[in-house]
């Protein structure tokens, strides 16, 4: 299989190393009002002399700098990006265009409500669709990402219990959970108790039953879980919790397996978040922005962050007057531009299209699983939903670990899968192709993974040296952490400017 070829890429120093005194990349219109002396207006101690070290380059140098840098990245636009749990699907360009429409991109969050009807309409429409998709009763769009949604959700649970005079201290979290879940629970003021998974890879019901008591505020469950397995007993889990007054929180990062097929509201979930930058295709942009709306059942609705939007005779209006609200989790109305993109995605797909996407996502994951299960160890055999998780058990015998297989995949022109997560699988390979990959792309991926399995037998050293096809070979992460260099310093820089 030949998916990549060696080619040249332009090298480029740090922008600071390109600076020459006096250069600028941008011209301002002339000032049309009288000049003011900063020293006079602000007082001498308040005015800075200079921004030392700040770049001084021309426009064409800016263009080249970032264009050159960009060529060192992999991206969905270049090929499959099978990061498990990340749902790296195609990001439609239309969504970028609509988010930049004048009147949207330049709307000010404090502009009069009468001038904000379109912006409010976008919010209530998206809220309604997300409520339908999740089977929940109300949605807040304020959280800026998944982890932020988790925090919002747990604060809702906390406020709910407080309102009943029933303060609780513990949140239960399965050992397969994503790291944000326990981190969030702590920030929300809870203690975390871990629940072990059973041999099927799902929640151990007995362990759960033993752990649930009147001090438990909620269980945070990811469904399908991080093994890509649907929690079949989720109904009983919900029953157990509800019987003791605890809430069921669902981490909806894996909703790409469920949209249009199953609604969390139908299997007992009380509160959940969605990652619009996963399931709803808003671009990852190298690490954000995202949006993490939270959907709740009716009993939690009074606690949602302010403001809510109400439909009044005068039009849509913000409602600030909600005494039970947990308050704000973010200024203004969340990552609005991301919401616009997600709504565009939903409108483009429609109800049926969303369901079809789910079917294709699950089909693609199972196709990859089928293609690789002969060569890689599958620690859990339960049916896979949108992703499948292997372990490096077989390759480890030859001294080849998941992290190295991942690096080798780069030499085949694919971005690696998610490495070493979930933690309950030793040496996990977590693969999520998403629905937007063609059979052709999947076949090439499977062939690459098979070839690497062969190499693990025949030439493990080859894998350990990978990647050899990129401008930067294996990066020394230990060195970076040992003596952190986190900013450019003029003294150091020049020497290895083309380093």
């Amino acid at each position: 299989m030949r998916r990549i070829r060696p080619h040249q890429t332009q090298d480029e120093p740090l922008i600071f190393e390109r600076s020459s005194p006096g250069k600028v990349g941008y011209q301002l219109p002339p000032l049309d009002v009288p000049a003011v002396d900063p020293l006079e207006a602000l007082g001498p101690g308040c005015v800075r002399r200079d921004i030392e070290g700040f770049p001084e380059v021309s426009e064409v140098e800016v263009i080249r700098h970032f264009t050159r840098l960009s060529t060192w990245n992999y991206a969905i636009d270049l090929g499959m990006y099978p990061l498990g749990s990340c749902t790296m699907k195609y990001n439609p360009r239309l969504n970028e265009a609509v988010a930049r429409i004048e009147g949207i991109i330049d709307a000010h969050p404090y502009q009069p409500e009468a001038l904000s009807q379109g912006m409010q309409r976008i919010q209530v429409t998206l809220e309604r669709y997300l409520a339908d998709i999740t089977g929940m009763d109300a949605v807040t769009l304020q959280p800026a990402a998944g982890a932020h949604g988790e925090l919002t959700g747990l604060l809702l649970v906390r406020a709910y219990h407080d309102s009943l005079g029933d303060a609780r201290r513990v949140v239960l979290i399965p050992d397969s959970a994503h790291g944000t879940n326990p981190a969030t629970a702590r920030i929300a003021g809870y203690e975390v108790v871990e629940i072990r998974s059973n041999s099927r890879g799902t929640i151990d019901l007995a362990a759960l039953e033993a752990a649930v008591d009147d001090n438990v505020a909620a269980l945070m469950v990811t469904n399908p879980n991080t093994l890509g397995i649907f929690e079949q007993e989720i109904g009983r889990v919900a029953g157990l919790l509800h019987a003791r007054g605890a809430q069921l929180y669902m981490d909806g990062a894996n909703m790409n397996a469920l949209v249009g097929i199953a609604k969390p509201g139908d299997f007992g979930v009380d509160v959940m978040h969605l990652n619009l930058h996963k399931t709803f295709s808003t671009p990852h942009g190298g690490g954000g922005p995202g949006a993490g709306p939270v959907a709740v059942r009716r009993h939690l609705e009074p606690f949602l962050p302010v403001p809510r939007i109400r439909d009044t005779a005068a039009g849509l209006r913000y409602d600030w007057d909600r005494s039970l609200s947990i308050g704000r989790v973010r200024a203004f109305y969340g990552n609005f531009g991301v919401l616009v993109r997600a709504l565009a995605y939903i409108l483009a797909h429609g109800g049926d299209g969303l369901r079809n996407a789910t079917v294709d996502a699950v089909l693609n994951a199972n196709y990859v699983r089928k293609g690789l299960e002969d060569r890689y160890d599958l620690p859990f055999s339960a049916p896979s939903m949108h992703e499948c998780v292997f372990s490096d058990a077989r390759q480890a015998k030859r001294g080849v670990r998941t992290g190295e297989i991942a690096k080798r995949l780069i030499d085949y022109g694919f971005h690696p899968y998610t490495v070493s997560f979930p933690l309950i699988v030793r040496g996990a390979l977590m693969i999520e192709p998403t629905e937007t990959e063609s059979k052709q792309e999947l076949d090439e991926f499977v062939a690459a993974m098979q070839a690497i399995a062969d190499e693990a037998e025949s030439d493990p050293e080859l894998i350990r040296r990978a990647p050899t096809s990129t401008r930067t070979s294996r990066v020394d992460e230990t060195r970076a952490a040992r003596k952190p260099v986190l900013t450019w310093q003029p003294e150091r820089g020049r020497g290895n400017s083309r380093g």
């Binding site: 949207i104 000010h108 981190a183 671009p283 690490g287 990066v475």
Partner: protein, 434 residues
């Protein structure tokens, strides 16, 4: 493909979901629409918005010019559609740009290091507060009332459940700055940090230097907050603060009805291990060439789980990239010039408003926004008239400060034309006034 995996129908793919949990009805979402219908939909929504209005609102969301170059570069697929750069060898472009971002934010704020971004300014503040609490092992926070009220609300929400009480510091009604006596009175040995914004919500430059002295004496940290990044082109950076938390929306990202923006958190080298969020560090590759990677991940949730410095995972990388490109374009000279223009526009507006009989209630010096009280007409009428002129007037401070009802917070930037400023000033006069 179904047959390749031994299934008969798409239904079979969902065998793992108990039938009772599968939905029986299709989604109540209308059928898929084409590109042009979707465009039309959003054009219609946009037409129910501020299109064609000049906007004199600031208050945490600022109108600045956006050079075309920023979007041309940031929308390149290699940036737009990449994931968080965990795989360093396949992500050197984004890693390098984040390293540059960290450096520029440090240069701008006068700190040693900065992280790779927070959600926004409002959430950067509680992260800074929690960080201060970890560093000092103390748990009280003193928060200036002149901190952006929505930032304060977010802080409250975060802190209410963490046994981290927040207390508010009064402001001086004459200067619009923090009341230093109140600060001194409330400072005690259990205070982790004092949180001040400069320019503060009223647009007034805060007395950071004087506050720092008081704070230091009690072994607390000073967290300096900014919401208008352009001010740092001209104002002395809060070098003496221990942590700087702020919002870079002004750098190439339009108001966009409140988001996505990009928060920053910067600090002194000694505090980096308590810092939340991602950090990119310099290192070498296996052939000894300079390379970049995410580092100090042991602070983060995916390694340290419940004991992480923060739960943040996805952040605002693309907006940070836009800010990086913007800072590069404007550069050392351009940012200064830009800041000066903002200063001039705001002072011009202030002069015109005074001439139109309005009061500027605060004596503290200001950068590009300030509070103003109409005297000849009620504030609501001033703004109603302005709307008629297609100008969105200032924010009535009564919304957050009952005692300031009828006082407007107005902002002028390089995008505000003299004509718009003059027409707004005219709205402060009674019809027939000179």
């Amino acid at each position: 493909m179904l047959s390749a995996i031994g299934l008969d129908s798409a239904q079979d793919l969902f065998g793992g979901i108990p039938a009772s949990h599968r939905q029986s009805e299709p989604l109540a979402i209308p059928p898929g629409r084409s590109e042009y219908e979707i465009r039309d939909y959003f054009e219609a929504r946009a037409s129910e918005s501020c299109k064609g209005y000049a906007c004199l609102l600031g208050a945490g969301a600022y109108n600045h010019y956006r050079p075309v170059v920023v979007d041309s570069l940031a929308t390149r697929g290699e940036f737009l559609t990449a994931y968080t750069p965990y795989q360093a060898e396949y992500s050197q472009g984004i890693l390098t740009s984040i390293f540059e971002f960290q450096t520029m934010v440090a240069q701008l704020t006068g700190m040693d290091v900065a992280n790779a971004s927070m959600y926004d300014g409002s959430t950067a503040v509680p992260e800074a507060g929690m960080m201060a609490a970890r560093i000092t092992r103390r748990n009280r926070l003193l928060v200036a009332r002149t901190l952006h009220p929505e930032y304060r609300q977010v802080l409250d929400t975060y802190f209410r459940h963490q046994a981290l009480p927040c207390e508010t510091l009064a402001y001086d009604r004459a200067s619009g700055q923090i009341d230093l006596e109140d600060l001194e009175a409330k400072l005690s040995d259990d205070v982790a940090a004092v949180i001040l914004q400069t320019p503060n919500f009223f647009g007034v430059v805060e007395r950071i230097g004087e506050a720092v002295e008081l704070v230091r004496r009690r072994g607390a940290l000073l967290v300096a907050v900014f919401s208008e990044a352009v001010s740092l082109g001209l104002l002395e950076p809060p070098k003496d603060a221990d942590i700087v938390a702020g919002e870079l929306q002004s750098f190439a990202h339009p108001p966009s009805y409140g988001g996505p923006y990009v928060g920053v958190l910067a600090t002194k080298t000694k505090h980096i291990r308590q810092m939340p969020g991602r950090l990119v560090g310099e290192t070498l590759d296996s052939r000894g060439r300079r390379a970049y990677c995410l580092t100090l991940a042991t602070r983060e949730q995916h390694i340290r789980r419940a004991r992480a410095t923060s739960n943040i995972c996805t952040n605002q990388a693309l907006v940070a990239l836009m800010a990086t490109i913007y800072m590069t374009l404007m550069g050392r000279k351009g940012l200064r010039e830009l800041a000066e223009q903002n200063l001039c526009k705001a002072h011009f507006l202030a002069d015109r408003l005074r001439a139109a009989g309005a009061d500027l209630p605060f004596a503290g010096s200001f950068f590009n926004e300030f509070a103003v009280r109409p005297t000849r007409l009620p504030a609501s009428e001033v703004n109603a008239r302005a709307l008629g002129e297609r100008i969105i007037g200032g924010l009535d401070l009564g919304r957050f400060y009952p005692e300031l009802a009828g006082t407007l917070l107005v902002c002028a930037t390089e995008t505000s034309t003299r004509d718009a400023l003059e027409r707004y000033a005219a709205c402060f006069r009674k019809k027939g006034d000179a």
